[in-house]
């Protein structure tokens, strides 16, 4: 951590590069960050809206909030794996703190997460959804999601250096995890015998802490909040510990 502070200007540069590289080639640049989840939401709305009618009102808001969380989580994980792998050759020649790459990726993801709030607020206005003070809680919810995601990124990114195909495997697992988390569907459509599985899914508690203030217009109850925070901190501690243990081995594997 202290070494990360010495390299803070490198960290800022990596974050800026992460943010710009993705959109450099497209003409509307940063707008894609905001447009992409909106378009996905539109597709899902066309497909699922009628199916969930009666169980969910204003499905677009429900699904957009879910997608924002999911995009942040899955893109941060995949990018932090790729960034550590693509910079691993550098780590063989320079004593750069290895964690700087996943950390930069997750921070860039947080910036994109905040940017994606703009189209979300637009959607809330357009659909006449309840706009309340609970929205001021969102930075806390995003911080919890970021702690969780950083932990998962630190845990998984060294694996991408050690094994070539692990990014592909994680990509598939991500898809599975997405369907095991109530992002595009409400819990209520699940048959009772499957609900326990989703209930114990740690991603769900993080997701709901973010989605409740938007969709239900309420600050999540303290019980939910403390579970989400505990899950996030546990993920971070496990991730940081395992990264610390495996980081020394990275230069040997390139």
């Amino acid at each position: 951590m202290r070494r990360l502070f010495t390299y803070r200007d490198l960290l800022l540069t990596l974050i800026a590069r992460e943010l710009t590289v993705r959109y450099k080639r497209s003409s509307i640049g940063f707008l894609w960050t905001m447009l992409q989840p909106l378009l996905t939401m539109l597709v899902l709305h066309l497909v699922f809206s009628s199916i969930f009618r009666g169980q969910l009102e204003n499905y677009p808001v429900f699904v957009l909030a879910g997608l924002m969380f999911w995009n942040f989580f899955s893109q941060s994980i995949i990018s932090s794996m790729n960034s550590l792998r693509s910079n691993a050759a550098l780590l063989k020649k320079l004593p750069v703190p290895q964690a700087i790459f996943p950390v930069a990726t997750v921070i860039a993801g947080v910036v994109n997460f905040f940017l994606a709030l703009i189209p979300l607020f637009g959607l809330l206005l357009v659909t006449g959804h309840h706009l309340g003070p609970s929205l001021f809680f969102l930075p806390v919810a995003i911080a919890i999601a970021a702690i969780f995601t950083l932990g998962a990124g630190l845990l998984l990114s060294p694996l991408a250096v050690f094994f070539y195909d692990v990014v592909e495997v994680v990509g598939v697992l991500m898809m599975l995890a997405m369907y095991a988390t109530p992002i595009i569907y409400p819990m209520s459509i699940l048959p009772e015998r499957y609900r326990w599985f989703v209930r114990f899914n740690p991603l769900r508690s993080i997701l709901e802490v973010f989605r409740d203030p938007i969709y239900y217009g309420k600050i999540p109850p303290l019980a939910h909040l403390s579970v989400a925070l505990a899950v996030a901190v546990a993920a971070f501690v496990i991730g940081a510990w395992s990264f610390h243990r495996s980081a020394d081995r990275i230069p040997f594997y390139v």
Binding site: R3, T6, Y7, R8, D9, L10, L12, T13, L90, L91, K92, K93, L94, P95, V96, L159, F163, Y164, D165, V166, V169, D248, P251, F252
Partner: protein
Amino acid sequence: MPAVIQLDNVALRYRLARQRIPSFKEYAIHMLRGMLTYRELWALRDVSFSVERGEVVGIVGRNGAGKSTLLKVISGILKPTRGRVSVGGRVSPLLELGTGFDTELTGRENVFLNALLLGRSRRSVSERFDSIVDFAELGEFIDAPLRNYSSGMVARLGFAIATAWKPEVLILDEVLAVGDAAFQLKCHRRLQEVLQSGATVLMVSHMGKILIDECGRCLWLAEGRVVADGDPKSVLAQYEPVTPEPELARSGG
């Protein structure tokens, strides 16, 4: 004089997999069958020495003797398998010319990127930018992409960045051999300046002349052990007769 670099019984093991295992699945299969065997290679065995502040120490040895590994251990890139390494002061490693350079970026962008990778701040790069370009003699080439540079230009730029901060510990792996005579003279002068500011220098070179000119002390590394340590002339006199042919290849060992 206090020791700036201190190595106590340092050993480093590379584990080379006998078979290439690129995938997680194969790893699991091999592990279950107990086939996960490695060929162990001790690149360093029981290396102990200390370097005092202000010393310029040269390291010689044949390819594969562990020279580059030793520099990486001292730079903090590789953690030794056994033993202790302590370095008092900021290390500026220049292990390979062009490390951390992105050939698609311009020289200017690379100066910043490279210095940041060495843990410098953006502001301190700006302050030294002109003197770096000056030393590297790049002129208006500084705004051309690095892929258009000659190897001499890349060498000058890399050396200029590594030495622009008056490093406390400067580590050079075979980098002085690249340029022409004028570049070597310049590097020699820069090294003298760096030394006057109290730096300690460790360098690997295959060129006896450079070692005799620059170093006050020389280590001979063979099969991961220090076999001679002393005055460059006498160490080289022991080393050169046992080296069968003049080493033309400049790859670090």
